[in-house]
Amino acid sequence: MGEAIVVTSGKGGVGKTTTSANVGTALALMGKKVCMIDTDIGLRNLDVVMGLENRIIYDLIDVAEGRCRLNQALVKDKRFDELYMLPAAQTKDKNDISPDQVRKIVEELKPDFDYVIIDCPAGIEQGFRNAIAGADHAIVVTTPENAAVRDADRVIGLLEKTNISRPKLVINRIRPNLLKSGDMLEVDDIIQVLAIDLIGIVPDDEDVIKAANQGEPTVMNPNSRAAMAYRNVARRILGETVPLMHLDEKTGVFRRMRKFLGMG
């Protein structure tokens, strides 16, 4: 029996879909059987980020309304045999499906997969309630901005009222140079306010944008720092203890030498 993990944030644009795609792919990379569900009905993106847009035949609403069987709607990934995606409908909206219908679909998927990753839409309305309906665990994504942290706090409050286990935090899009100058919220400050366990910090990385536009999840790129961060998140989901990565910019030979000599 697999676990269902919802990726949510409250605020839009903090990287829920990117996180879902990359964590899902990273888990598949580690040999797990993964299904990703896009619940952002009407504004589906996960298929675009995964580069699977042109393979969609049926969607979540079709399954819910019984127009097709669940495994007819599952889109198999082009890179991994054990990675699937259930796309959202683009022509409907969030009120066209109920939390109970989503829960039923998630329950149906869990026996066949190790992980079911649910990509949640922004907001705390019907779309949010649909997305969290079938979830066992939650990952809350935030960025080091006050507005995003406020919304994350709101969402954590709502998650705590459900029977989902204690949510885990991903801090996305950290810019080390802004951190150093003190112009960005510190990771420690965010954790102090939100008071939940951190499961990953992801540096801002241009490769993420490039990769998303090419429909290739960043985790596939071995040189990207964000990719490493997402792989670390996946390893922590699997229960490994992985230290947080250093956020400093790439250290050159010269700086490493200075550090070695105790001058850095």
């Binding site: 006050n146 406020r150 919304d151 706090d153 709101r154 409050g157 709502l158 102090q192 306010v193 008071a195």
Partner: protein, 220 residues
């Protein structure tokens, strides 16, 4: 000399309403009720009559209500339907009667914690969260949201927090917005109070100057 009758009887559609004076002694009142009923014994016999009793502002324990019922029951055809007092006056209850109650948890954005009496919160109040209490508010944790002490009107209420970083503080009717008005970055525990209608912040150790309660500490 009986200037004003302590018991007024009114007829309503489905029976009688007894209005009992709420300022007199209970014993006098019961005597008069009994006397009045005896006087009217003749008139009041007959078919069953429903009686509503209104006590005004008087609050009575159950055994006293039972005494009223037994007096009225002496009239065989009277059935007491209800004994009512006016609802308790809303507004500031006695401040010194407030008890401290402990609540454990985090008040997150969008959540409001409302409380009667003094509130001891073990946990944080995050930005966007609100704690409201009719008495004092003590927070063992960080206050980053809004706290409103004495929200029923008590200006002597205080707000104390281990980490005082509120979005807004309110005591009774006074609202204060740090850091526009004051800023705190002190490493010790602080509390907010009202002085001449203005919000003040001081360190916890100074509270006894204003409250001035002798401490019964053991020791030499």
């Amino acid at each position: 000399m009986n200037v004003k009758s302590l018991v007024t009887i009114k007829g309503v559609m489905d029976g009688l309403v007894f209005l009992l004076d709420d300022a007199s002694e209970l014993e006098t009142l019961l005597d008069e009720l009994e006397a009045k009923l005896e006087k009217h014994e003749q008139q009041l016999s007959g078919p069953i009559v429903h009686i509503q009793i209104k006590l005004g502002a008087r609050q009575l324990p159950e055994h006293d209500k039972e005494r009223i019922r037994s007096i009225i029951r002496k009239q065989g055809n009277f059935v007491v339907q209800s004994i009512e007092s006016d609802p308790l006056p809303v507004g500031p209850a006695d401040y010194s009667a407030y008890k401290v109650e402990t609540v454990t948890g985090m008040v997150r954005s969008g959540q409001t914690l409302e409380h009667e009496g003094h509130l001891l919160l073990l946990g944080d109040v995050n930005p966007g969260g609100t704690v409201r209490s009719t008495g004092d508010i003590y927070i063992m944790g960080a206050l980053r949201g809004v706290a409103h002490a004495g929200c029923a009107g008590h200006a002597e209420a205080i707000i104390a927090a281990s980490l005082m970083k509120p979005t807004q503080l309110r005591i009774a009717e006074v609202i204060s917005r740090p850091p526009d008005e004051w800023a705190s970055s002190e490493p010790w525990m602080e509390y907010a109070y009202l002085q001449d209608g203005a919000m003040q912040i001081d360190k916890m150790a100074h509270l006894h100057h204003t409250r001035n309660r002798a401490l019964q500490a053991k020791g030499v």
